[in-house]
């Protein structure tokens, strides 16, 4: 367990992971459930345990669509999406941690793709 990473994720997300009652509703409503190795309720639990590096290495951090369904539907107001975001930021902020670089963008474009998709991806995948 990495205490500094746990502290960073807790502060950055502003989430009190101890409020979670492990009902799994966040994961039940998550549109990316099938694509995720670790599901929203597991993020909350693993952050509580301080197991941040496992999450940082998982593709799951790039599968969250930031749809805020888990935030609105959690009966305890835990806001799991904020935990996922804080872990993702911990990963992309590391040295050489960028998932996406500006030179990769042209190959991803098609004539209809809105700019919005690119700026959003740059926010999610790079620093």
């Amino acid at each position: 367990m990495n205490k500094n990473l746990k502290e960073q994720v807790l502060r950055s997300s502003g989430v009190n992971v101890l409020k979670c009652m492990r009902c799994g509703k966040c994961s039940g409503t998550c549109p990316s459930y099938d694509e995720m190795e670790y599901h929203p309720h597991q993020f909350v639990y693993m952050v509580e345990k301080g197991d941040i590096e496992t999450l940082m290495k998982s593709e799951s951090i790039y599968k969250c669509l930031t749809c805020f369904a888990c935030v609105d539907r959690c009966p305890r107001g835990v806001q799991p999406a904020k935990v996922v975001e804080a872990v993702r930021l911990a990963a992309v902020r590391q040295q050489d941690g960028n998932r996406l670089s500006a030179d990769q963008i042209p190959s991803l474009l098609d004539e209809d793709l809105p700019q919005q998709a690119i700026v959003t991806a740059m926010r999610k995948y790079a620093k």
Binding site: L65, T66, C67
Partner: protein, 265 residues
């Protein structure tokens, strides 16, 4: 004529011109003047919820503050811009640490603390114009057309910050559809995500999500689907594999107001 500050955002200048053009034309016909702030910047597309992120929030604060300086409410139309600006406004009025850092950076004549009222264009139709009034202005009602309103995620959530409508049982778009003479179609996936930006790296996930949305609308007998979001429109048209027509809500608004020819798809 009531004047509002209007924030179009980057995509409405490029790939989503129809969303913008018909928003402006319809507002004018409804007696609403929209004025862009002088030097607006892209909102960034997604709100960064992290409390230790400051730079990613500055653009939205600049936009909010320029409306404040003009003494006006702010109108947005793209769902993503709306979400970013609304969440920024919500957080800056509650998170003192963030407000302090943002204001220390921006050095505005007067610190910004969330004073601006933000309306999505749909809220402007409901709360400023009024759906009854809109109905009176309709010259070409879309009689008999069954329209599925697609909220997606960005217009409704997180509901504490967005505060547009009931996040699980919204009515604003259905009321809009009724006001222009058409029939709303209620379907299960109307407030679930289309896949969003995941299309850049995982087409199959985008296909799965947008396919589920379109399938759900079609099963309930929709003739078309409307959205306020350029990325939703993209996913639903290009990734869903469905042939159900998708339009911006401003296109059918302009059509009902007699400002645009009907869609012949």
């Amino acid at each position: 004529m009531e004047t509002f500050t209007y924030y179009p955002g980057c995509t409405l200048r490029t790939k989503a011109k129809d969303l913008d053009t018909y928003a402006r034309a319809s507002a004018e016909a409804l007696g609403i003047a929209l004025e862009e702030p002088a030097d607006w910047q892209c909102c960034g597309g997604a709100y960064t919820t992290a409390r230790d992120e400051i730079a990613t929030k500055l653009s939205a604060v600049r936009t909010l503050n320029s409306a404040k300086e003009q003494g006006r409410a702010l109108i947005t139309v793209c769902s993503a811009c709306h979400n970013v600006i609304k969440q920024t406004n919500y957080d800056i009025s509650r998170d003192e640490d963030m407000a302090m850092k943002v204001n220390n950076y921006l050095q505005l004549p007067e610190p910004y603390a969330g004073e601006t009222t933000v309306y999505h264009y749909l809220e402007m139709l409901r709360d400023v114009v009024g759906f009854d009034k809109l109905k009176e202005k309709v010259v070409a009602p879309l009689k008999g057309v069954k329209i599925a309103a697609y909220y997606g995620c960005l217009l409704l959530r997180p509901s504490a910050a967005l505060a547009m409508d009931d996040p699980e049982n919204p009515t604003i778009m259905e009321d809009f559809i009724r006001a222009i003479g058409a029939t709303p179609v209620i379907y299960a996936q109307r407030n679930e995500c289309c896949g969003g930006y995941i299309t850049l790296e995982d087409k199959s996930q985008a296909a799965k999500r947008s396919g589920a949305v379109m399938g759900s609308a079609k099963d309930q007998g929709a003739d078309m689907l409307i959205t306020a979001c350029p990325l939703c429109l993209y996913n639903l048209k290009k990734n869903s594999g469905s042939d159900l027509p998708v339009y911006y809500f401003t296109e059918i608004l302009a059509q009902a107001l007699g400002l645009k020819e009907g869609n012949d798809e």
